[in-house]
Each structure stands twice: as structure tokens, then as C-alpha cells.
Symmetry: C2
Amino acid sequence: MPKTGLTAEQIKDRAIECTMERMRKFGYEKVRLSDIAKDLGVTHAALYAHFADKAALFDAVSERFIRDLDAKLERFCQPGARGTPLERITDWFVTLHKTKCEKVRCDPELYRAFNFLAVRQKVFVCQHLQSMDRQLMMLVKEAIDGGLLQGDAAEIVQLLFNATIGFHYPAMVVEYIDQDREPLLRAVLDALYRGLRDA
Amino acid sequence: MPKTGLTAEQIKDRAIECTMERMRKFGYEKVRLSDIAKDLGVTHAALYAHFADKAALFDAVSERFIRDLDAKLERFCQPGARGTPLERITDWFVTLHKTKCEKVRCDPELYRAFNFLAVRQKVFVCQHLQSMDRQLMMLVKEAIDGGLLQGDAAEIVQLLFNATIGFHYPAMVVEYIDQDREPLLRAVLDALYRGLRDA
DNA sequence: TTCCTTACATTTGGCAAGTTTTGTAAGATA
DNA sequence: TATCTTACAAAACTTGCCAAATGTAAGGAA
């Protein structure tokens, strides 16, 4: 029934892709709905059938990045994941850190948008935080069961997350993008593991 | 010789105080040199005998806060300071954290200015970073000498500072101002001490 | 029914004017 | 000599207007 010959999902996807492309090229301030619509071969009003408003379109771009990141991190929590629980926690944090660094370097405009657009307290961001919490909780519980860490799982998750926040907090990732902080991140985690082993 | 009857230092001090007062009342965007000058009973051009430019006046405000903070932290490094080296490191970090929280709550406009005005990489900020590094280094060395920590002092300082950066990084202090994170900060430090005791 | 268009209301952004504020130079006063 | 004033140049900040972009409603095509 759609006049464009594409399903609603396909149109949405293409709209998001066009938006990303224009954000990359011109910065998010200069992205116009009419341009996106033109790329898709529809009028700008048609976009409102798929997105509540312009902000929702931008959010969809951020959401895609966050979902990809979540999926990437999820792999370290799968039953088949290799390595000891502690190694997997380290891999999890290092991946979180490096993925954000990579995004800053390869997609600076997208990262800037993601950073700027009062993205905090949006639904998908809260979900991301919950998702990360759940993932870390799984890994930490495994470590506790294996006798590698001691204490309350939720508290340990809080502690690990906050002690490494400088390595994944958006503004700080940007600020220290020129430095290779991975070794420091690993050192922080190693010290914490030792300290939490016989708490 | 001055026509105002005040020494250069006094004029400077009063200028800084007036600036702070107006920043608090109206926000730093609305501070005008001509208003400051009027408060002091001189023309705006006279201010240029004391400050290189408007930014230098604003910097002086931030500098004052930072110097006070440095002095406060310095106390934990004095020979007469009470407590074990590790307790003093904890006090040092907790003071750093709480002082910034207090500033955010009591002087939000000043903190915002301090945060906004590309304050990074200014001379007095670098000095502050160096000063903190030196202070922490002293405390860590004492802890190492006392057998409470093991490893390279400079590396340990780096590690402690970065693992607690979420508790003193300006933007994050503001973001989490509603939460009492002091217990979490202490927990992070305790875990690190244990992990760095038998590195 | 879903997705789209046309037509229109509302909001935002950009530009040119005038005004204020910032910064500088030359000279006056203690 | 150090500090200040006057006078002026340069930069940044309003204001008002118009064009462009966003958002909405009513109705048309698959």
C-alpha cells in the first residue's frame, strides 16, 4: 500500500541513514527535514507518519549506535564467551572504552550530536544504562561464583562502573581522545579486582 | 600615587570581588566591564591597567577558588596532619569531592562560569593539576614507605586520580549533585588500597 | 487502513540596522 | 612612573524583518 514501494520499516531505515549521512557531512545543525524527504522522494510532511518530530529522527540515529554497542557488549556475556570472568569484565570495559573512542575519531559529527542533544534521560539511554548494568551484573556474579570476587554483586557493579567512568563518560572520551588510556583502564581494573577478591 | 587612594593590589581585589558579586547575581554572560568600573569609581579603561582583558578578570575569579582549594588540600600533606597515610589520601579525595559539590550548590553561577570559560589549559589550571599531583605524590610515597601500598608512586597517583575522576570532574560533579556519592568514593578508594597493597 | 500530498499555521534562522561593549592610543595627574 | 581619563576603533550584542523550516489538518491514492 505504500506509494514509495517500500515498507514503513524500510522507509524509516532509509530516513535514518540519510540523516546520518547529512549529519556527517554538514553537522546536525544543518540537517533539514525537507532535504531528507527529497532524498527519499517524498514530501517533508510524509516523514511525520514515521517520526513524531525532528528530535525523534535524531534520537533514532543515536539509538542505533547505542543498540549496536549494546549488542557488541552482550557478546562477552554469552555462555560461549571465552576467558575467565575477570578477563571478560576487562574485555567488556575495554570494548566500551574503545568503541566510544573509535566513534569520536571516525564519526565526530555524529558523536557531537549524540553528546549535545540533551540525550540524557531519554528512554533509550535509560534502557542502555539498564542493559549495561544487567550485563555487568551477569559477569560479576560469575566472577563471584568462581571465587574471583567477594561481596555484593550490585555494589561491585556500581563500584567498577564508577571507578572507570572517566573512560566512557562521553565528554571525557572526547577530552582525552589523543591519549591511549587503555593501559591505564586495565591497571585500574586489575587493582580493583585484587581489592575486591578478599574484600 | 593612585588616584583612587587604593594600591594596585587593593583595586585588583575589589575588581575581582565586584565581578564575583555580579556573576552570582546575573550570570557571567551579563557582567560588563563598565559596571565593574562604575562600582570602583573609575572608567572602564582603567581596568586595563590591572587586567590584560576581560577574560583575565574572569580567570582571576576562578584562580581564587582554585588557590583556596589547593591550600585546603595542602593541609592533608603537612607533617602535622593526623591519621594514617591512607586515611589522609581518603580525606584528600573526599575534600576535593565535597568542596566542588559545595561550590556547585552555594555558588552555582560561579561554578558554571568556571566550567564554561575554556578554563582548561589555562596556566593556573595546569598549576592546579601539578599541585594536586605533587600533593598526592607526597601522600602516596608516605603510604609506600609505610608498607601500605606497593608499586611505582607516579603510577599509583595516576591510577587513584583517574579511578576517582568521576567524583571531581567538573561536569560530573554537576550532573550527580543530587546524589550523595561520598560513600561510593570511599568504597572505590578502599578497594584500590587493598588492590595496591600487594600489587 | 496506511501512507502520502497539498495547503496552511507556527516557529525558527539569517541578515542588516543600529547600539552597546570591549579594547587601544595619547595624553593628563598624582 | 604608575594610574587614570578622554577619545576613538573594533568587536559583539540587540532589534526587526523576511525567508525558510517545522509541524498540523484535511483529504486523496493504493
